[in-house]
Every structure is written in structure tokens, then in C-alpha cells.
């Protein structure tokens, strides 16, 4: 019993042949695609390879012109983006954003409870330090006790304000 899937079987259905070339393939270029040329012929021959005189497509001409205009505009009008933060609009400071910043940058040393970790626990920190005191620590750190200044950890002003809102919300 012959296996119906055996490709060597003469009765095996042959895979369909690739469809015959279309009419277009018999004709290299239609009239309107060909440019007038000095050599009168359609192609020049070099190294046994023929090169046609097809026109530059309209779409490409449009692209060339658009890019030229854009280039001029950009050369005159563009201004720099200073860092990653300015590439996206910065949101107004919120306590929620501050919680994220806390877990990313502070939670290594501080608990949100009263319990000490590497640094002191931060429950009720706003009452302890006062508004000005908290602000100072958030900008300058505590160099004498080994706490780095948050700006040196790449936190921007908006993130620091969010952090302050979050810490203020930690009340006893």
C-alpha cells in the first residue's frame, strides 16, 4: 500500500506550479515610465547588465522636496531637550508619585514605620523636623550621618516635591 504522502510516488499530487508570469513581466516598463534619453534606446548596456531610463517616481520627488523643507525648518527652529525628564511632560507633584520615588530611592535605608532600618524610621517625620527642616534634608541630605542628598541620586525638583508630599502624609 503506497503511502499517499510519498513524494516519490508517481501518483502523488504535485504541488501547484508557480503561476505564469503576468503580462507586465513581459514588458519591462510602460510608455509613461520611460524618460527621453540621448542614446535613443531604452537601455544602455554595461558589463552585460542593462540599465533602464525609468523616471523618478512622483512619490519620491515629493519625499525629496518635503525633506528639504523639513531640513530648513529644523535647522532654524529646533531647540534642545535637556534631559529625559523634559522629553515627557512632567506631572504636578503628587503623594502617589512620591510613594513610587520612595520605594525606588529611599526604601533601601528607611522604613515608613517608626522602626529603624539603616536610617531612622520616617513615621511622623514632618512633625519631627518641621516643614523647613524636611525640605532641607530632602535637598541637602545629611552628609554628617551618611545620607546622600536626593538631587545627587538624580531626583529632580518635581520628584522631591512628590516625596515631600508623601512623607508629610505619614502621620502618627
Amino acid at each position: 500500500m503506497a503511502d499517499p504522502r510519498d513524494p516519490k510516488d508517481p501518483n502523488h499530487p504535485q504541488p501547484p506550479v508557480t503561476p505564469a508570469p503576468t503580462d507586465l513581466s513581459q514588458q519591462f516598463m510602460v510608455e509613461e515610465e520611460i524618460e527621453e534619453h540621448r542614446d535613443k534606446g531604452v537601455y544602455t548596456d554595461s558589463s552585460d547588465i542593462q540599465v533602464g531610463h525609468g523616471k523618478v517616481p512622483k512619490f519620491l520627488k515629493f519625499v525629496y522636496a518635503a525633506l528639504a523643507f523639513w531640513g530648513l525648518y529644523y535647522a532654524l527652529a529646533a531647540s534642545p531637550i535637556n534631559d529625559r525628564h523634559e522629553a515627557s511632560p512632567t506631572a504636578a507633584p503628587t503623594a502617589e508619585a512620591g510613594a513610587d520615588v520612595f520605594s525606588a530611592s529611599c526604601a533601601g535605608c528607611h522604613n515608613v514605620t517608626a522602626e529603624r532600618k539603616i536610617g531612622p524610621g520616617l513615621l511622623g517625620v514632618h512633625e519631627r523636623l518641621g516643614d523647613q527642616g524636611l525640605d532641607d534634608v530632602l535637598h541637602k541630605g545629611r552628609p554628617d550621618k551618611g545620607m546622600p542628598a536626593p538631587p545627587s541620586l538624580n531626583l529632580n525638583e518635581s520628584q522631591i516635591q512628590s516625596l515631600k508630599l508623601y512623607l508629610t502624609s505619614l502621620k502618627k
Binding site: P21, S47, G52, S105
Partner: protein, 474 residues
């Protein structure tokens, strides 16, 4: 030799074919070596404990030694070597003459390989300049430049004594690309003591880093596309004018592209703009070349399904086009601020080099090898396997890196660029690193199929007969 014994095959073997063979065979060795190194690096980023079992591994199999050897073996080892092979075959073929000096060709080929293998060993031993893509120490840089000059001289003399008056498009691209390579390589490898450090140094080095791709691999690869396409589809090239626009615009705009790597960095605004605007204007040469490819293919697209070599070539052209849409977009200040320093770059760098011009080079090897060994390619099935594993592997690799890069960029922007947030992002990207290793493994399997196929072709491929069409068309 066995070729002379072949019945019906002309005893006159085109001059220069031994040089071409040396370049091709060594390039395939470098390809495999480079991919193994890349795979080890990707596995190490999935599991950092991988290959750290003893002192020797800890010293020699670190990221800092493997990664530069991977990139250099891919760029200088594989792609440059294979392109030299294509040039040593293609330039005499288009000039309808033999290579000017076979002896000089052989000397170049041997010197080139000795030089690069020495360079790769020194990279693994830790002797590096520390500049990305240009890690080779000065001694080996000088060797590279000497070989490029010897190659250029040999091919220039071949062109001078040619038997064909008109120079075909590929000839402009090919000879131009060699000049570019010499200039770019010299500028990129000037020792730091001579040019000063800081952003000036980076200005020099990014000129090299971008243009080794833009002015060498692209230019030589587009020349190869122009050479192979009309041969494979038996059609004239669509438009002479488009090929002129493409060639001169590539030369005019590509050399400006270095500073777009330093956008948003410590360089003047005018320099950023001088890098960004030409990056966008690159769409002109790229789309002109692609329009020419599409114009030539019009009505004969069905041939892609019949010839695997053509499938490689068209896929290469397609990935080249896609890479050059991605590139200009990345160069703009906004996207750059998000995507710079992320995994996205890794995906982008592999697209023109592997997806684009390696595909073109595979196509060239499959086309040229039967014409210099007088043996047909051993297995079409293996060719097809090579194609699909390479393409699928690359797509998995590429999309994993692009997605990971976008996530990374936006998360960092959200303030997760350090501390535990950074660790969270890193952990969440682990799955993409695994996908990269899977894609990379597929790519590597494809290249094993390729190397085995080429080995079998050279040993046991079907011998061409006297009436074979490949004997008529070089």
C-alpha cells in the same frame, strides 16, 4: 586540480578565484565565531553565573572581553572579509577581465586573516583601546589599513586595465566604499593622545562607529544588490537616474551622521542639528535605491519564490530599508532621549548588519561560489533552512530588544533609573533577555546549516556541466 578534470568546464579558471575562496571560507569561520561569542554574552545576561566556574573563565569570559570580540569579529571579521571576497570576484567580472595581480590578492588575503586573528586574540587577552567597535589595538589597525590599501590598489589597477568602457553602477559603489573604509577606519582609530579626550574624542569615534556601517557596509552592500539583482531576475535595472541620486546622496549625507549619537549630550546645538538633519535626509538615498529595486522587480516578483538566493537578497534590501526608517527616527531629539542607552540600540544595530547586509552577503556567496568552484550549492533545503532560521531568529531577537528598550526608556524617565526601581525594571526585562537568547540561538543554528552547506558544496556539490548557464554569466 579537480576543476580541470571536470568534463566540459573551461580549463581557464577566472584569475583571482583563490583569493575569493580564502576570503569566503575565512569569513564563514568568523561568522560562526562571532555568533558563538554573541550567544555566550546573551546567555550570560540571562544567567550571570553561566561560564564562571573557574578562575580562567572568570578572567577570559567576561562581558568586557567577549562583547568587543563579538562585535569586531562580526564587523571586521565576518562582514568586511566576505565583502572583500565579493569585491575580488565582482570587480574583475564587471571589468570583463582578470584580477590585476593574483599574487597581491593572495598576500592581501593571508595578511588580512593573520592580522585579524591576531587582533581577536589580543581583544580576548584584554588588550583593547576601550572605544566601542574600534577596540583593536593600534598595531592591528595599521594592519587593517594596509590590507584595505592593497585591496584598493589591486582593484583600481584591475579597473584601469578593464575591457569594458562604461562603469556599471556597482563599480562606483564598490570602489567608493573601499576609499570610504580607509578614511573612516583611519579617523576612528587615531590614538586618543593625538586628538584630546572628552566630547572631541567622541566626535571622532562616533564618526567611525556610525560610518563603518554607513559608508562601508551600506555602500559595498548596495553595490552588491545592484550587481546581483539584474543577474538573478534577468531584468534591466529600472533607472539610471535613481542610481545616480542614490550614490551621490549616500556619499553626501552619510558622513554627517556621527553627532546624532551625542544628541542631548555635551555638544553644541549646531553640531546636534548637523547630525540630525542629514540623518533624516538619508531617506533620499535609501528610498531611491529601494525604488530602483522595486522598479526592477515589477512584474517578476514571482521569481522570489523560485530562487532562494533572490529571497535572501530581497529580504536584505527590505531590512536595510526598515533599518533606515528606524535610524532617522531615533536620531530625533525626543525619541533619542527615550531610546538612548537602552536595549533598543542592540536591536537596531543588528538590523542593518545582520538582517540587511549579512543577508545580501549570504546571497552573494550562494551566487558566486558555484562560479568559482564549478560546483553547485549542495542542498536547497539547507539554504531554505538557513533563510528561515536567520529571518525568524532575527525577528524574535529584534522585537525582544526593541520592546525591552522602549519599556526601559519610559521607566527610567519615570524615575526608575536607580535604586530598587531600577532593579524592578531589570527583573521585568528578564523575559526579553531570554527571548533574545532564543532568537540568537535560532540565528546561530541557521549559520551552522549555512556553513555545513558551503562545506558540502565545495566538497561534493554537483559539478557544473559544459552547457550550464552559470558558465556564461559571471
Amino acid at each position: 586540480m579537480s576543476q580541470r578534470a571536470v568534463k566540459g568546464v573551461p580549463t581557464h579558471i577566472p584569475k583571482g578565484s583563490t583569493t575569493v575562496k580564502i576570503f569566503f571560507y575565512f569569513s564563514i569561520f568568523y561568522l560562526l565565531a562571532s555568533m558563538i561569542l554573541g550567544l555566550i554574552v546573551s546567555l550570560k545576561s540571562v544567567n550571570p553565573e553561566f561560564l564562571t566556574g573557574n578562575r580562567f573563565l572568570q578572567e577570559y569570559f567576561t562581558y568586557g572581553r567577549l562583547r568587543p570580540t563579538h562585535t569586531n569579529t562580526a564587523l571586521v571579521g565576518w562582514l568586511t572579509t566576505v565583502n572583500f571576497g565579493v569585491l575580488f570576484y565582482g570587480v574583475p567580472a564587471l571589468c570583463k577581465t582578470g584580477l590585476w595581480s593574483e599574487k597581491l590578492g593572495l598576500i592581501t588575503a593571508i595578511l588580512w586573516n593573520v592580522n585579524y586573528i591576531g587582533g581577536a586574540v589580543s581583544l580576548l587577552a584584554g588588550y583593547q583601546t576601550g572605544v566601542e567597535y574600534a577596540e583593536l589595538p593600534l598595531l592591528f589597525d595599521i594592519g587593517v589599513v594596509i590590507c584595505v590599501v592593497l585591496t584598493f590598489w589591486n582593484l583600481f589597477q584591475t579597473t584601469r586595465y578593464r575591457k569594458e568602457r562604461v562603469l556599471y553602477v556597482s563599480m562606483w559603489y564598490w570602489l567608493g566604499s573601499l576609499l570610504n573604509l580607509a578614511i573612516v577606519y583611519i579617523v576612528g582609530n587615531i590614538p586618543v593622545e593625538w586628538i584630546g579626550s572628552g566630547s572631541t574624542q567622541m566626535g571622532y569615534y562616533y564618526f567611525y562607529l556610525h560610518n563603518i556601517v554607513g559608508l562601508w557596509f551600506t555602500v559595498v552592500g548596495v553595490g552588491t544588490i545592484y550587481y546581483l539583482l539584474p543577474k538573478m531576475v534577468q531584468r534591466p535595472i529600472y533607472s539610471h537616474k535613481l542610481s545616480l541620486i542614490g550614490f551621490w546622496m549616500i556619499i553626501a549625507f552619510y558622513s554627517w551622521n556621527g553627532p546624532h549619537h551625542l544628541v542631548n549630550g555635551p555638544i553644541p546645538l549646531w553640531l546636534m542639528k548637523a547630525g540630525i538633519i542629514p540623518s533624516l535626509l538619508l531617506l533620499i538615498p535609501v528610498w531611491s535605491v529601494l525604488a530602483n529595486v522595486i522598479g526592477t522587480m515589477k512584474g517578476v516578483w514571482f521569481k522570489v519564490s523560485q530562487q532562494i538566493g533572490l529571497k535572501f537578497l530581497i529580504t536584505g534590501a527590505l531590512f536595510y530599508g526598515l533599518a533606515c526608517i528606524q535610524g532617522p527616527f531615533q536620531a530625533l531629539m525626543g525619541p533619542h532621549a527615550i531610546l538612548h542607552f537602552t536595549y533598543w540600540t542592540v536591536g537596531h544595530a543588528h538590523m542593518p548588519l545582520f538582517g540587511g547586509f549579512s543577508m545580501v552577503a549570504f546571497s552573494a556567496i550562494y551566487y558566486i561560489l558555484p562560479r568559482i568552484t564549478y560546483r553547485h550549492i549542495y542542498s536547497q533545503t539547507l539554504m531554505n533552512l538557513h533563510y528561515w532560521l536567520s529571518v525568524l531568529g532575527f525577528l524574535i531577537f529584534g522585537f525582544a530588544m526593541w520592546t525591552a528598550g522602549i519599556i526601559q526608556g519610559f521607566e527610567w524617565m519615570d524615575g526608575k533609573q536607580l535604586g530598587s526601581g531600577f532593579l524592578q525594571v531589570m527583573e521585568s526585562l528578564h523575559i526579553f533577555l531570554i527571548s533574545r537568547a532564543v532568537g540568537g540561538s535560532l540565528m546561530f543554528l541557521g549559520q551552522i546549516a549555512f556553513a555545513w552547506n558551503i562545506y558540502r558544496s565545495a566538497k561534493a556539490g554537483q559539478v557544473v556541466t559544459a552547457d550550464d548557464p552559470i558558465l556564461v554569466s559571471r
